[in-house]
């Protein structure tokens, strides 16, 4: 087999490299989905895998998401490690019954006898000008389902490390890939990939003292930009990248907020019933006596994902985050 020479640096390439390394390391790893073979995926994340490992290990399936995930369940029952691609966030909904009724609970309903090591790759989120049904942030649905791990990288290195960990996990993992970061570049060197990153640990991307921005996935670069901008106004913002929504790293988040005394949760998924509500409640329960202000949320509006020409008004941007940070100068009774 010839080695596919990968250029370093983009998240999509790191994901490809992670899939390739996982397939090379473990013959039971199978990639499957619509267009993942000859085409290499609509985002080219599976590029070259069918050529290198054959159609049986990187399989173009019929166009049917429930069938893709449902057959993956049977394959996992027989000892394979399927990595399925859902192509776009909203395309995953037909597979939802398989996910919640079987994938998430097979270990539990068989009292541990039948774990399902399936990775469900879901490119998600907006900001790429996609048409309807191509920009949803569905993480709250997955978070609400016990038995699933829910992971989302925001950096090139994490894309590699977390995907390797997801595939190696004996539990099902919903691996949310922020579409608009696919082409974000980094100094990551694919010739020496980062260590596999354990699932479930948040990381402080930027230390700060006056407030914590809690975020993940596509909103991380926005929060880092906001933190830089806030310096001019005297704010020294800490930015926590959750990386894993389930399990949730209470320890890292709690320690950060206790240090800073203020917190804003930032994500582009809608706010009502969204991940931010859960996160704000957890932070409040653990940090009430340390908080100088209510935990605030900056989220997408509570609307169906808007058409692309209006999406910039929907997605949380730097200004909206800075507004929220300003409101953290909260006084009782105000």
């Amino acid at each position: 087999m010839t080695t596919v020479a990968l250029k370093p640096a983009t998240m999509a390439q790191a994901l490809t490299r992670a899939l390739r390394d996982a397939m090379a390391a473990d013959a039971s790893v199978h990639v499957m989905g619509e267009d993942v073979g000859t085409l290499g995926g609509v985002f080219r994340v599976t590029d070259g895998l069918a050529k290198e490992f054959g159609d049986d290990r990187c399989t173009d399936t019929p166009l049917a998401e429930a069938g893709i995930l449902g057959t993956a369940v049977g394959m996992a029952m027989y000892g394979l490690r399927p990595v399925v691609e859902m192509q776009f966030d909203a395309f995953a909904y037909p597979a939802f019954e398989q996910l919640v009724s079987h994938v998430a609970r097979m270990r539990n309903r068989t009292r541990g006898a039948m774990p399902l090591p399936i990775t469900v790759r879901v490119p998600y989120g907006g900001g790429i000008g996609g048409v309807e049904h191509h920009s949803d942030s569905s993480e709250a649905y997955y978070m609400a389902t016990p038995g699933l791990h829910v992971v989302t990288p925001a950096t090139v290195a994490d894309a590699y490390g977390l995907l390797r960990a997801a595939i190696a996990s004996d539990d099902p993992v919903v691996f949310l890939e922020p579409k608009r970061l696919y082409w974000s570049k980094d100094t990551w060197n694919p010739e020496e990939p980062e260590a596999v990153e354990p699932i479930g640990r948040a990381v402080v991307r930027r230390p700060g003292r006056s407030a914590t921005l809690i975020t993940y996935g596509p909103s991380l670069p926005v929060c880092l930009e906001a933190a830089e901008a806030a310096r001019a106004e005297g704010w020294d913002l800490e930015v926590v990248d959750l990386r894993s929504l389930v399990p949730f790293d209470d320890a890292t988040v709690t320690a950060s907020v206790r240090r800073t005394g203020r917190a804003v949760v930032v994500h582009e998924s809608n706010g009502f019933g969204g991940p931010g509500g859960e996160i704000a409640a957890r932070v409040t329960e653990r940090c009430f006596h340390y908080l100088e202000a209510p935990v605030l949320r900056v989220a997408g509006f509570d609307i169906p994902y808007p058409p692309p020409m209006l999406e910039r008004h929907h997605l949380p941007g730097v200004d909206r985050i800075l507004d929220a940070v300003g409101r953290l100068q909260w006084e009782a009774g105000s």
Partner: protein, 381 residues
């Protein structure tokens, strides 16, 4: 001369991808359900197999009546009886080799038991202690599936994976007539045919999806006809004729094992009991219809064949009944014991390693259990 050839000058020949994969005629099911018992074909049937099927039918019927009685006594939350459908259940279990896999639905406890699953363990889902009481790998029986048809793609995936690994394994998936309306039925059959997976689908058409009759479920000539559109053979069989169901399934399993791909088998049968104890079947079907089907009872049909041919006498029948009675007595005794449940196991198998959130909740439950054990005074209240 085809229409296309007549118009040849006006229209280009379609590219190969547009051509049907095969001539559909060989895929079409028989017009009438295939029968063995009471026909000349019965003479070719293996007497040992017929006697074994008979013993399993009698056992299966007794299992159904015992489990139904346990429901009335409150020992089972619910029991979807397969009385009347035992021939399908028993044939499905007996047709498989040890290395093969069975994918049952919630009504298929009997198939699981006939394949070797402990009769008590097969009922835990319905008793309410654990969702699956048996290790699926022990007898290669997937968990009883409650959502409709969602186990079918699992069977396809498992069969496909086995073939990729070079294993000589067939998966047999059971589904009801109502389940054929579900999207997962379509996707499973389509994947199976495209992948030529070694899988057999057995539809037990018992006439009703709870209360909705087949005529309101499908407009197809038969459920077996649905196979043709996927490019796989459809077979129609009398589901109360244990010998016929066994023969048709055996052919389909052999076909799959030899690399011939999937088959859809429709067994026409009847659910003599209500859907479950929560259902009032008199609201949607007439007694006369039920009585007509009692004359076509799978045990009666096989008993008649065996006695007519001198393969079964009164002693043989008594032996089968006694064996079934012993099984029922054991089931009754063991089901009348309260299962010992450890609430802390609630957290044991959610993930390979419990999350910190689950560990906190387990500690909370442990404290509640300790307080409960200590009583009102011990709890300090």
């Amino acid at each position: 001369m085809t229409v296309m050839e007549q118009r040849g000058a006006y229209r280009p020949t379609p590219p190969p991808a547009w051509q049907p994969r095969t001539d559909p005629a060989p895929l079409l099911p028989d017009a009438r359900p295939y029968r063995v018992l009471g026909t000349e074909a019965a003479a070719k049937a293996d007497p040992e197999l017929l006697r074994r099927l008979y013993a399993e039918l009698v056992r299966g019927r007794r299992y159904n009546t015992q489990a139904t009685a346990l429901t009335k006594q409150g020992r089972l939350a619910v029991y979807p009886s397969s009385t009347g459908q035992e021939a399908c259940q028993v044939a499905a279990a007996l047709v498989l080799q040890e290395r093969d896999w069975l994918f049952p639905s919630y009504r298929d406890t009997l198939a699981a038991v006939a394949r070797g699953v402990d009769p008590v363990q097969a009922l835990t889902l319905l008793r309410g202690d654990w969702h699956t009481g048996y290790d699926p790998y022990e007898h290669r029986v997937a968990p009883l599936c409650t959502p409709l048809a969602t186990q079918l793609p699992h069977a396809v995936g498992l069969a496909h994976a086995a073939r990729l690994k070079g294993d000589d394994v067939v998966a047999l998936a059971l589904v009801g007539d109502g389940g054929t309306s579900e999207g997962d039925f379509h996707e499973a059959l389509n994947f199976a045919a495209v992948w030529q997976a070694p899988v057999v689908f057995l539809v037990q058409n018992n006439g009703f999806a709870i209360s909705v009759p087949l005529a309101k479920q499908t407009a197809a000539p038969s459920l077996a006809h649905k196979a043709v559109g996927y490019g796989m053979p459809g077979r129609l069989v009398d589901g109360n004729d244990a010998a016929a169901v066994h023969e048709v399934l055996a052919d389909a399993v052999a076909h799959a094992r030899e690399g011939g791909g999937p088959t859809l088998v429709e067994a026409v049968t009847y659910r003599l009991d209500a859907h479950t104890n929560a259902d009032d079947a008199t609201r949607y079907r007439a007694d006369a219809e039920v009585e007509a089907w009692r004359d076509h009872d799978p045990i009666v049909l096989l008993e008649r064949e065996l006695t007519d041919r001198g393969l079964l006498d009164q002693d043989g029948m008594r032996a089968a009944r006694e064996d079934a009675e012993a099984m029922a007595a054991d089931l009754r005794t063991r089901m009348n014991q309260d299962p010992a449940l450890d609430p802390r196991e609630l957290f044991a198998n959610v993930y390979a390693e419990p999350t910190s959130q689950l560990m906190e909740q387990e500690a909370q439950l442990r404290a509640e259990l300790d307080a409960e054990a200590a009583g009102p005074e011990g709890a300090g209240r």
